[in-house]
Symmetry: D2
Subunit: 335 residues, 4 copies
C-alpha cells in the first residue's frame, strides 16, 4: 500500500480545511466524509468529489477500504469516534485538544494501546518550521538550560464569537504554547496560575493570561487574546521567547512577513499554517498530514503528536482555567 | 531666576549620566556634586568643571546658591537626602524607585507637603515619546476601555551583576511598566502574583514574571529578564501591548530601529532614553530634566513624576516580590 | 544675552510647526511672525501670543530686538529673505532645500560670508538620533569603508497633493538621504541616474527612484514615494542600510515602534521628528532648534546644517531630476 | 505510474540540497546521481543509498527506468544536459538561471518544443508563500495598478567567494526578483541601468544595484549584496515592496521570524526556502519539486517555471550587467 485512504469526521470550518489539505498530499486519498448535517455533507461531497458520505461515523469505520480517519468534531466529542476508529483498526489523526477532560484523554490513550492503527494528535505548531528549528537549536545546546519562556497567541475578535461558546482561549490556544514549552524544556509543569477577563460576555472569557512553573524552577507566561479588533493586521499574533542560561531564542510573529495594504486595511495574512493556493492548502498543516501519512504507511510510531504529550498539555491548561475560576495557584501532578 | 542651579547627590554610573544630561539643558546649571567617595568626587568635579564638591549632602544643602538637587543614591538611601533637601527648600529630582519600602515612601511624601521646592520622582518611561503618544491615544478613546496589558523590559546580563546584589528586576525595572500601566488605566492594582528564578545565584533573582489584576478586572503580565546573553542585540528589549475593547496599541521594542553589525556582533543601541553625542546626553532623560526645570522655575506642580504615583508603583512591585517569595497571590490596598 | 529672540518668516504648515517647536526651547523666544496672508498672520499671532506680526519680512528684519529668523517660505523664495536677514545681521535658520537652484544656493552662501549672524540650513535628519548614532559608529570604524547604501523615505498620498505642485519627491525628500549619504561617506557624488513616475498627474511625479555613484566607487539607491495609500500605517516609511567592508548598519523605519490599532486603521505615528505633546513639539526638530540657538548664543560656527553641505545635496538631487527628465546619466561636478 | 524516478545531474552544494529535498517528496524517487567527480559521486551515492551513479549524464539518460532529471550544473553548462535530457524524453527540472546567454536559453527552449517531457526552470521564489500570496492579492486588484517596486536579496560574504568567480550577484540573485517583478506586473522590462562595486576583487563584483523601467512606465530598484559581514543575522535579507495605485504590499525579510542568540552571534536562519529537519529538506524547494512531480505525472504543462519567463528574466539581468560594465542605460527588446 502506498496511499492512505482517509475519511474526515466532522465537517465544520476546520474539517473543511483538513479536506483542502489532504487533497494536496500525494500519499493521501480523501476517500470519505462524515457529518450529521445532511446539507453540509452533500455540499462537501460535491466540493471534493467524494462519493462515500456518512451521517454516522460507525458506518464509515465499517468500510474496509478506509485506512485512516481525521477527527474534527468538537473537543468534547472526541472520545466516541476516536475510540471506535482505533477499535476498527484505523489510523487516527485527532485534532487538539485531545479531549475536554483528563479522564477522556486517558480513555482515548487506553484505546490506542495495542491498536492496529496509530493515534496522532494534531499539535500543529510542532510543524511550524520556526518552532521546529528552535527545538533543534535547543537540543544542540545553543542556549544552555532553559530558565524562562513567554508566549503570545492572539487572534481577531471576528473569528471567535462562535468558538467562545464552546471553548476558552487557554485550553483552546494556549495549549499550543503549553505543548511547545513542554517539548522545549523536556520537563513537567508543576503549577499554574491564570487570570481571564470577559469582554463580550460570551460563555468563555475572551482573554487569558497564564503563568506556569516547571519542575526545574523555570517560569513561563502565556498570553491568549481572542478579541483583537477589526483593524488588527494579524491573522495570528504569535511569538515566543525562550531564555536560556547561554542564549535566547525569539520566535517572532508572522507579521510583518507579508503586509498587504489595500483600500480597507493593512492585513498580514498567515503564510505558515494553512496558506491556500488554487483551492489547496499547504504549510504546516500539510506537513503534519504528510508526517502522519508517512508514519502510518511505514508502520512507524510517531514521535510528534504523541497522545501522552497531548494529555499533559491538556492537564496544564485545564489547571490554568481552574486557577482563573478560583483565584488560586493550582498544583499539578501531585496526587 | 531663569536658570536652576542643581547639585547631584550620588555619583554612581547613573549619577554621572544625570550630570551628562544636565549640562545639555539650557535652563539648568550643574552647580555642585556630592559623593562619599573622594576619588570619584574629584574625578567627576574635574570632568564637569564643577568647583563645588561635597562628601556630605548636608553641606551641599546648606548652600543658598543651590536651587535644586538630583538624588541618585541607592534606592534604600533615599529618605535621608530627600527629606533633608525638601526641608532645606530645594527642588528635588529623586530617582525611581521612590524608596525601598512603602513606609519610606510615605515619609518622603510627608516631607514634601508644604515644602518650598517641588518633589519629582524620575519615572523616565513617561517621557519616552512612544508611551506618551500611546497615552494620548488612550485618552482620546482610540482603543476603548483597557482590558489587558503585557510588557517586557529585558536587559543584558553584563549590566546587572552589581545591581542584582542591591535590587531585583521586579522592583528595579518592572516598576517602570507598573507605573505606565497605572497611568494608562487610571486604575488601582488589586492583586499581584509573581514568579522569579535565580540564574547566577546573586542576592536577587535574575528574572521576574509578574501578573497583576486591576480593579476593573483588567489583567496584566510583566516580564523582566536581567540576564540576556552577551550576543543579544538589545540594550533594552522593551515592549508593551495595551488591549482595549475597541483597539490595541503595540509599543514595540527599540530594536530594530538601529542595528549596527560590526566585527563583534549585531548591536541595537538605545537611541531613546539617554543617547550620548559629544559627551552630552539627550533623549527622554533630557526631556525629563527639562520638564523638572520648567516646573521648578515656573512654580508649577508637576503632573508627571508625582510622588504618590511612584508610591503606588512601589507598593505593587513589592507585593509582586512578596508573592514570588511566598508563592501566594498578594492582595493590595485592602487594609 | 542668554535667550535668542526669533521671528518666523513663512507661516504655512511647517512654519506653524516651527512655532510650536520654538516655544518649547528654553533659550529661544518666539518674538515675531511674518506672512503675506493677513488672516493667517492674525490667527498665528493669537495662537502663540506674539504681538509683533509682519506682512513684509523687511519690517521684521528692521527690528533690533529680533536676533534671529527661521525661514519657511517655499524653496524658490529663499534667496530674498535669507540674504536680507544675513545683511541685517540676524542669525538665520533656513529650511531645506537651501534653494531651488545651485545658483541661488551660491548667492545665499555668498551673503553669509562675513555676516554677523550664523547661517544654518535645516537638514533635520542629522538630528535623528538613529542617523547620528550611525554616524558615530561609522566614524569609529565599526563597519570599515562604505561601499554601498540604500534608502527609503516614503510618505502618504494624503499629505502631498499640494506640495507636489511645488516640488518633487527627489529634491523634496531624497535630499535628506542625499545629505546623510554625503555626511556618512565624506565623499562627493560623481553621477546620478533617476527614474520617476507620475501617478496622480500633478505637476511633479509622485515617485522617484535615484541611483548615485560616489567618487570612491560606492553606489547608492534612494526611493521616495509620495503616494502611499490611505491605509498605510506609516507617517514616514524611512530606512537606510549602509554597507561597509567590515560591517553593516541598518537604520530601520520608525514602524513598528508604536502601532495604534483603532476602529479606523493601524497607525504608526512619527515619534521622532516633531511629536506634539500639549501643543508643544519635541523630537529632532527641537534638538535642531536647540543646536541652532546654542551655536548662535555662544558665537560658534555650526558643524551641522552647513550651507555648502546643503548646496551639495541640492546639486545631486537636481542632477537626479535632470536624469529622470532626460533619461541620461548625469555627471556631477566635472566642470 | 504514480512515482517519478528522478536523477540529479551536478552534485555541488545545491545538487546535494536537491537530493535532500527529493527524498522527502512522496511521488518522487531519487533513482540516480551524476557528477564527473568520482569521490563526490561515491559519497553521495552512499549518503542517499542510490545505486545508479554516473560520471557521464548520457549514460544516465540512456536508462529507460529514469523518468526525470534535475540539472544543477553551473549555469554555463546547462545546454548540454538539458538538450540531451529533453531529446531522451525525460522530464527536466533545470536550475536557474536557465542559461548564461540569451542564445543558450533559446537553444534549450527550442529543444523543449515537441519534447515528451516537461521543461521546468527552478525559479524557487514563486514557491515562497509570501510572494505567492502577494501575487494573489495583486491579481484580485487589492493594490490597483503597479507603479513602482523595490527589492533586496542580500547574503553573507562567507557563502560567496567561490560562486563569485563563476557568476555575479545580478544574474545570480537579482534574477529572482526580476522574475517576480515580471510575474507581478505582467509586463516587459524596456530598459536597465545598474551599478556594481567590487569589494574583494573576485572575478565578479560583490554588489549590484539595478534599476528597471517597465513598459507601462513602472520603475523598479533591486539590491543584491553578496558580502554581508560575518555577524549579520541574516541567511537571506530578502524584501520587496510593491507600490500600486490603490495599495502597497510589503514582502518583508525572513528576519526576525526566528532569532537564535547563541554564544557566537544572533542568527536568523532561513525557515522558508529549504529548512532541514532530520536530514530532509522542506520549504519552498520541496513545494517546487512537488509541483514539478505533479505536473509531470499528470501530463500537465506547468504554469510556474515557464522557460520563456526564465529567458526574459535572464535577458533583463544580462542587460543590467552590461549597463554596469558600460555605464550606459541599456534598452531591452527593441530589435
Amino acid at each position: 500500500m502506498d496511499r492512505l485512504r482517509i475519511g474526515v469526521i466532522g465537517l465544520g470550518w476546520f474539517g473543511e480545511i483538513h479536506c483542502e489539505t489532504i487533497i494536496g498530499v500525494p500519499n493521501l486519498e480523501l476517500a470519505a466524509l462524515c457529518t450529521r448535517q445532511p446539507d453540509r455533507l452533500a455540499a462537501m461531497g460535491a466540493k471534493f468529489g467524494v462519493a462515500k458520505t456518512y451521517a454516522d461515523y460507525n458506518d464509515m469505520l465499517a468500510d474496509p477500504e478506509i485506512d485512516a480517519v481525521s477527527i474534527c468534531t468538537m473537543w468534547d466529542q472526541h472520545v466516541g469516534p476516536a475510540v471506535a476508529a482505533l477499535k476498527a483498526g484505523k489510523h487516527v489523526f485527532l485534532e487538539k485538544p485531545i479531549a475536554s477532560t483528563v479522564e477522556d484523554a486517558r480513555t482515548i490513550i487506553e484505546a490506542s494501546k495495542g491498536a492496529r492503527g496509530i493515534l496522532f494528535v494534531g499539535h500543529i505548531v510542532r510543524f511550524n518550521p520556526r518552532y521546529r528549528m528552535a527545538k533543534q537549536a535547543i537540543d544542540t545546546g545553543k542556549i544552555g538550560k532553559i530558565v524562562a519562556l513567554s508566549s503570545r497567541r492572539n487572534i481577531p475578535a471576528a473569528w471567535t464569537p462562535t468558538i467562545l461558546n464552546k471553548i476558552g482561549p487557554i485550553v483552546g490556544d494556549a495549549i499550543h504554547d503549553t505543548d511547545i514549552m513542554l517539548w522545549f524544556t523536556g520537563e513537567k509543569i508543576v503549577s499554574a496560575y491564570a487570570q481571564t477577563i470577559s469582554v463580550r460576555n460570551l460563555k468563555h472569557p475572551d482573554i487569558g493570561q497564564t503563568m506556569y512553573r516547571f519542575e526545574s524552577g523555570a517560569t513561563a507566561t502565556l498570553e491568549t487574546v481572542w478579541c483583537m479588533p477589526e483593524k488588527t493586521p494579524f491573522d495570528i499574533d504569535e511569538r515566543m521567547s525562550i531564555i536560556g542560561t547561554e542564549g535566547i531564542i525569539h520566535v517572532q510573529d508572522t507579521f510583518p512577513n507579508l503586509g498587504i495594504v489595500s483600500s480597507d486595511k493593512l492585513h498580514s495574512p498567515d503564510t505558515t499554517y494553512w496558506p491556500e493556493f488554487n483551492g489547496v492548502r499547504g504549510g504546516a498543516l500539510r506537513d503534519e498530514f504528510s508526517y502522519f501519512a508517512n508514519c502510518a504507511l511505514a508502520g512507524e510510531t510517531p514521535v510528534m503528536g504523541v497522545p501522552t504529550d497531548a494529555a499533559a498539555a491538556l492537564e496544564a491548561t485545564l489547571a490554568a482555567e481552574e486557577s482563573a475560576r478560583t483565584g488560586n495557584v493550582i498544583r499539578i501532578g501531585q496526587g
